[in-house]
Symmetry: none
Subunit: 202 residues, 4 copies
DNA sequence: CATGAATGAGCGTTCATTCAT
DNA sequence: CATGAATGAACGCTCATTCAT
């Protein structure tokens, strides 16, 4: 006979919001911004479409939230690489493994759609124009330079090398990110990719 | 006002159709299936949207036509590689160069959308389920095997190697295929990519 | 935490109900039936929107209640005029003053919306079809007739005169009942309006 | 076998647009901005709702167009009064007659809704903030002043008098503007209203 | 062959109403 | 009695498709 207390409400809200976000990531990743209908997200989350609007005031806001979270998470992960133990090459390998984790696919597709689509919310465009690849380059440059000094990593402009490598990894993720049973592309083995940066001892 | 004869009409039809196809490729590549409006294609082709329906029965049919043409063209190009002169490594390099040609980006995006989207026409799904990567693998396997025999190309399962390499190249193309104004990914230099397959002389 | 007794509960109910009615009048008057959202009333009353439904079964019922109260009140006021002291013209003046009171604006707007809107509850339509202007006419006719006999009020069909005068006053109220910040209409001075009914001594 | 020529198209477009505007005025006047559904306008105009959007890009734009036309028309009519022949009092009477014309009711309701509703398009708010009553006052002031000089019109601040009179007339129109068969308000006879401004010879 | 007016299915979003707590 | 999470009908608007000219 008494309304739910603040704590319970907060818990319900957090759960629902998480539930929606998870559903939205899944659907947006697979179908893109335009291809995703709010009803699909609602269905995926197992709620009514009306309820979506209690938690996110629009499709735009929902997508923007997702991107913000994704960007933050990716930054966090990249930052982690620097704190790993081991040689520069070990770090690159760890970074590669972390990126190529299948768990990350939805994230990559999300960002790919956000970068690619013309129907992206204005706010997301801003995020990308401010928060470009440079952040990652800066985070990883030291590793490359150090690796080059040690003779573990091929010579050449470190920034070019990083961007190229990230491009390869991102491409791999995006290209493989669908569960089509159809025989298609494949995620290359890490050793194979590492050859791009790894210096071969003469 | 003499009525056009059969031949002239056919010519007009063919020209128009080509015009529409070119416009459609451009728009579909950039905006995906759902993101592309028939009116955009009409505008890009410089014709009325009504006219589109004289040449293509529906958006689905138009997209399907595009994919069929693209698949055929890609097969044609891949076949060409085998007829090139030079060492296996030279052929791989030529193949790489041919693929990374910016001219091909629209094609890669098109195929990416076709593979990725859930809103793809049934017929396109069939095309992909029949016409999978194996064709390319078969076309390029000989080159790899020969290269391995010559010690130019790294050891290992040739098919895995091919699929991985094509995945890398395709990923690169898809990931780079948008507005280059924004600082972002980059197409790696060919030498850098070739390291994936190239055997380093000991 | 002793449970409230019957009497206290009734009191709470009555207070709440009054609180809601006051809020509803305010919002409905300013925004009309369709323009008023239940959430606005709840916010204005400082309660949750869920609670509204403990006191009023629906938006329709709430609005209907408001109209019923307003009609009763207006009848009460009009009746009062007859009991005033003074000449017929004094009574008309008092009536005019009472009506043009700014306090009454919400009432007039409410009735205006109820009369005007097509989305009005069926029950309200009934109220208007039964309880029409005749009641007021009957209440005021004597005053007019008496005034005409005394030469204070212009000659002519008393009923026509009353309805016309009430129309003018009502129109004035409705037209002036919004944001006065904007330079716009104005409530005329009473003397000016009285000229409509007042006979000028020759 | 040939597309319609420019002239025919223009004619169709003009007819349709007129048809829509007429329907929209009717519905908006009767039901207000929020109460009017685009489907109602479409039904009233006898077209599909989709077609509305070929001619007006939104409900807002449609409403704004209506208001702009109404304001222009009202200004035109008011201006006309000054060019009439006759005494100042004749002019006022002509003005009164013109306003009280039943044809104008929809216009008055439209403006009333535009002035009253909180959901009015921003552009309409601007129109009202710029184009306030002063225009009309200025147009009619001379008539009043002249009439006062001639002893035809009561003494007093001419502007107050005009605004009051316009308020009365507008109120009358708004209050009477529904075809409810229910006995209700009535449009007063003109002589009765004219007494507000008319000076009685002593 | 070519045009654009016209239609209607479908999507994003709002809001009255219900109900578990 | 009181709260706010949850639902779904309904509305504004878009766009693929049709068809008269």
């Amino acid at each position: 006979m008494v309304p739910l207390n603040e704590e319970q409400l907060t818990q319900i809200r957090d759960e629902r919001k998480e539930q929606i976000v998870a559903a939205a990531v899944k659907v947006f990743a697979r179908r893109g911004i335009v291809g995703t209908k709010m009803s699909m997200i609602a269905a995926e989350a197992g709620i009514s479409h009306g309820l979506l609007y209690h938690y996110f005031k629009s499709k735009e806001e929902l997508f923007t939230t997702l991107i913000e979270e994704a960007m933050a998470e990716s930054l966090r992960e990249t930052t982690n690489v620097n704190h790993l133990a081991g040689s520069p090459l070990d770090k690159i390998r760890a970074f590669t493994e972390a990126i190529l984790d299948k768990e990350n696919m939805e994230y990559f597709l999300l960002v790919h759609h956000a970068r690619t689509s013309n129907d992206v919310p204005e706010k997301v465009k801003e995020i990308f124009s401010k928060n470009n690849m440079n952040v990652y380059v800066d985070l990883l440059k030291n590793i490359i330079v150090e690796g080059q000094a040690k003779g573990e990593i091929v010579a050449g402009d470190p920034e070019k090398l990083i961007v190229s490598y990230i491009s390869v990894l991102s491409g791999i993720m995006v290209i493989n990110a669908n569960d089509m049973e159809v025989e298609g592309y494949r995620i290359p083995e890490i050793d194979l990719l590492m050859r791009i940066v790894q210096k071969v001892p003469e």
